[in-house]
Symmetry: C2
Amino acid sequence: MTNIKRYIEEKSFVFEPYLLERVEILEAPVSIKESMAYSLKAGGKRIRPMLLLAVLETYGQKAEKGLDVACALEMIHTYSLIHDDLPAMDDDALRRGQPTNHKVFGEATAILAGDGLLTYAFELIASSTAHSPEHLIKLIQMLASAAGPEGMVGGQMADMEGEKRMLSLPELEYIHLHKTGRLLAFSVMAGALIGGADKRETALLEKYAQHIGLAFQIRDDILDVEGTEEEIGKRVGSDESNEKSTYPSLLSMAGAKEKLAEELKGAYDALASLGRPAPLLESFASLIVERTT
Amino acid sequence: MTNIKRYIEEKSFVFEPYLLERVEILEAPVSIKESMAYSLKAGGKRIRPMLLLAVLETYGQKAEKGLDVACALEMIHTYSLIHDDLPAMDDDALRRGQPTNHKVFGEATAILAGDGLLTYAFELIASSTAHSPEHLIKLIQMLASAAGPEGMVGGQMADMEGEKRMLSLPELEYIHLHKTGRLLAFSVMAGALIGGADKRETALLEKYAQHIGLAFQIRDDILDVEGTEEEIGKRVGSDESNEKSTYPSLLSMAGAKEKLAEELKGAYDALASLGRPAPLLESFASLIVERTT
């Protein structure tokens, strides 16, 4: 697993300044730029952009080819966190141990910063010179579908509606496959498209993404019970106090851990069928399952 | 001016069902679809999509060629209204005489419906089969720029920051050119791109759009003072009670009306230089200036 950590560290040297520069160059009111940059800088794990770059690497492509799409991905992920944290939504004061956007900039600016990041993400891809128009269109279509009402936004809606009542396992899975799964899957599918994967390989990579997406969520739920406040930077057990359905609450802790192992195996199996070595993607899956924050 | 009203009525028969069908076909939670559809149906004047179609007509193109982009435009306009009306923003209970989205569906759903409309707008364009990939990319780039931090979102931010203090005329103009002007300009520029206008014509059409955009805003400010509550569907004088800077407050009512006439003349002049008859666009400008709601 060391190699994936080294890989992420290495790519971060390129990705982080490129990401922040995308906001700096905007000709827009300082306040909205500050608000957008604040949440982008707030120390996320960069799972989505790094996953995209790792798929590119698997297909022998340079990371530079994926930078614009990787930035767009992180912007959309970040916008979703800003809006999710709002008082009307999850009403969170802390995110990754730091005050949430609306706590620093106020609600109105936080709403606009989210809107701005979401909109700018599509402009970034459309303006990218690294791809053919056909690929750009396909990427935008895939990203909008993954992030929109049939994807992340729909998952968030279902999540909100599912609060305060016990969900069935299929209902919980629907939420996670949409709320977080679709965008994670896009990370991998975008890498597959740019990298030149064929139809069979793309389907396997999508399967891989779905498994690590669910694994990520199960691990999140487990951490929420087992973690310490310092480690995960939000109130421990906050899901439970909201009476939210989680994998441990539906399956017991042992059952959740078993399901986590199954998802990890599913991810490995998909990679094994790929027919090309994918050590980075393998260790990416392990990283997600073994993470403690 | 009769012809533009007849034109809009005629095109509405095609546009309205097409717009609502775009939401009906979504595989998403019913609640988010209902919330999105509610605000789309809330009886807007459809100025942006109709302006786009009128430019297409001016260039001898069928309206069908612009339907997807017209829907995307109206979705982005509608999302901006939903978010603007939120308690953290303008805190409006009524819009076009009907309860605002968050009053009917709650704040959280309203935020998500806005996010969903914004995201889906880009998917709609990217999935359109009516244009070449090069044109689709250009359209998405232009739309994202017009709607994002350098456009509408930036204008909204500046507007919020400008509340509660007297603005200069250039500051007020910056706000309107961004908050409403950029998206109106996109309506016309998109029509020019699809219609095959050359560079000179496109620049003239952009000028036309900027003039009618400012005219629209000045007329809005004048109506806010002179209108009746029933006519414009929101509390009359609400801008004044918020101590917002407006054209009448900066220029006096007579000065505002004079500026309105100047903007209208600017729009006509741009059309006159176009070198092709544009009766629909002429009467569109008059419609904006003479409207009473």
